[in-house]
């Protein structure tokens, strides 16, 4: 009977290719004092029909969400210039606004749009950036994110990460309480434009992006037990990578895109291996009777961090990788607290975010590798799966709110926080994509 059940579940794996616009709300749960005031004048649009996408609103929401900016509310805009030549800097100085964005959108004869914008420094009375971006109708949202990225980089000196994506898992209960539908989804960094790339009634977990953003590795129980898969995000083509006895879990794509660090228990207990994606050749990294799992790469590819309970409870350890994957010495990184797990390394390799237990609550903590200081970033409970934005500014994670699994994002300094709530089901295991290459 069990075998029959297994065969049936193996067959019942749906692959959806539909585009779904999830009903998403973003609540800023904690703003930042001293965020930079910026005025974004609604971009001029002289078309006969409504603009298919409110570009200004997308930019304003992006900047607000970062926690670094305090966009001036629409009704407080004292003036609405459309081009730089009409900007009266004195007017804006009175409002204590540091920066101003103006723009214009024009419908071209070929059906595409031309989006022009200018960014000004009010006090210096100079233009900091001015671009004209051609965009398809479908691409207007992405164009808005790219404008946000330009503004962010000009004013913060760090690349923006608005024009990126997040992968996550949603779980929806079906009919009788025991059946669930698991979906692996990819959406824009603001949660819009959701696409389901894999769907199953068996658990799906641990998505990991390839460094070129084209593939996602994940764990699926499609055949009744955990196996490792990789899938092309665009073509949806899927390949099963490993199916060893026991665990085939916790994939983490290497910075050069050639390998996955994975957890296998085929040799008796969970150990970290490096798997060559092309040849499936394995190199064993850890040798310990304890649990070793949840590997994450340093950006230079020369080492991993992982979770191990070799010292009793779970803690974060570091292992150096020699040439050809031969592993060097293992060093314990986390000391504060009785439970530290599921590390995510910042893009500059200087910080490690992790699930960090304080008393009976599970928060996201971030460990500074140089000072060895741990900062607790969240106040909610059951926080898990931290993932750094590719510019290192924010960490997205999963938590519980109102009895539902939701995603939240927090700035690395812990000062800005927001919650992304989807209308349906539990959302978990966010993985922030690398910068876009397409």
């Amino acid at each position: 009977m069990l075998l029959l059940k297994k065969i049936i579940t193996a067959v019942v794996v749906y692959i959806f290719t539909s585009q779904v616009h999830a009903a998403l709300t973003i609540d800023i749960t904690q703003g930042v004092e001293g965020a930079l005031p910026i005025a974004i004048v609604p971009f001029v649009w002289e078309g006969n029909q409504d603009l298919p996408e409110d570009v200004t609103a997308v930019i304003r929401a992006d900047l607000q969400r970062s926690g670094r900016f305090a966009p001036v509310a629409d009704e407080d805009l004292v003036d609405r210039p459309t081009v730089g030549s009409k900007v009266n800097f004195q007017t804006w100085r009175v409002l204590n606004v540091d920066n101003l964005v103006v723009g214009k959108i024009v419908l071209l004869k070929d059906g595409n749009y031309q989006v022009q914008f200018q960014l000004f420094d009010i006090y210096k009375a100079i233009q900091l950036a001015g671009y004209s971006i051609k965009s398809s109708k479908k691409g207007l949202r992405r164009t808005a994110h790219r404008i946000s990225d330009i503004i962010y980089e000009k004013l913060m000196g760090v690349k923006g990460a608005f024009d990126t994506q997040i992968a996550y898992v949603t779980v929806i209960k079906k009919g009788e309480a025991k059946t669930k539908l698991y979906k692996l989804a990819v959406a824009d960094s603001d949660g819009h434009n959701e696409r389901i790339i894999y769907s199953s009634i068996q658990p799906v977990l641990s998505p990991s992006w390839s460094p070129d953003g084209r593939f996602i590795a994940y764990v699926a129980y499609a055949r009744g037990r955990p196996e490792l898969y990789i899938q092309n995000v665009y073509t949806r083509r899927t390949k099963r990578l490993t199916s060893y006895q026991g665990l085939n879990n916790a994939p983490a794509w290497s910075p050069n895109g050639k390998n996955l660090a994975v957890t296998l228990s085929k040799d008796g207990n969970p150990e970290i291996y490096i798997l060559d994606v092309e040849t499936s050749k394995l190199t064993r990294i850890t040798r310990n009777y304890a649990i070793d799992t949840e590997p994450a790469w340093f950006p230079d590819g020369k080492g991993l961090v992982f979770t191990s309970d070799r010292g009793g409870g779970p803690q974060i350890y570091q292992v150096d990788l020699g040439r050809r994957g031969a592993s060097g010495k293992v060093k314990r990184l986390s000391y504060e607290g009785s439970y530290n797990a599921r590390a995510s390394i910042s893009p500059d390799g200087k910080k490690v975010a992790m699930v960090h237990r304080v008393d009976d609550a599970f928060h996201i903590g971030v460990l500074d590798l140089k000072t060895e200081h741990m900062t607790v970033l969240t106040e909610s409970n059951l926080d898990e799966s931290p993932s750094f934005a590719p510019n290192g500014s924010m960490i997205i994670y999963a938590t519980e709110y109102d009895n539902k699994g939701v995603l939240s994002a927090v700035s690395v300094d812990g000062r800005a926080r927001q919650r992304l709530s989807f209308q349906k089901g539990d959302v978990r295991e966010p993985a922030w994509s690398p910068f876009k290459t397409r």
Partner: protein, 162 residues
């Protein structure tokens, strides 16, 4: 050699459908001797049935230690499984929702393997047991408190062919 004899004995006995519990006991005694452990063999039939009806072993947080209260339950299962060579049992390991998902999958596997070891020590053939961990993916209780968590930290014995 002894192991081979045991297996032959078990299959011979189960083929003739004779006295299953005897086979189980013989196997257990032989195994106990082989492993040098002192397992209590004497057990009333009524207790055994009640113990066999218990198919979930519960654990403490972040622990894969099988509590002593489950010794009789697992002994009863070991006898029964060892006595029925055609039976296979899936040991499904689970964890509560706290902490990280992948660590919990590893923890669920270690729990299931702890149960597996206790069964094989008492004469169950390795091939009759299959270990699968679901970590925190399949909770039986949905609350976010200890009363729910304690029910979710478990290993389920799932008999096939029933």
């Amino acid at each position: 050699m002894r192991r081979l004899l045991e297996l032959l004995l078990i299959s011979a006995l189960s083929l003739t459908m004779a006295a299953c519990s005897t086979a189980g006991k013989k196997d257990e005694e032989a195994s106990a001797e082989a492993e040098g452990t002192a397992t209590e063999a004497g057990m009333l039939a009524g207790d055994s049935e009640e113990n066999l009806s218990k198919r979930v072993i519960y654990f403490e947080f972040d622990s894969s230690v099988v509590k002593s209260e489950y010794q009789d339950v697992l002994t009863a299962h070991a006898e029964y499984i060892a006595g029925h060579a055609d039976i296979t049992v899936v040991l499904e390991g689970h964890a509560d929702e706290r902490g990280s998902r992948e660590y919990n999958i590893a923890l669920g596997e270690r729990r299931a393997k702890a149960v597996q070891q206790l069964l094989t020590l008492q004469g169950v053939a390795q091939k009759q047991l299959q270990v699968i961990s679901f970590g925190e993916e399949r909770p039986v209780a949905l609350g976010h408190d200890e009363s729910a968590w304690s029910l979710n930290r478990r290993v389920e014995l799932l008999y096939s062919g029933e």
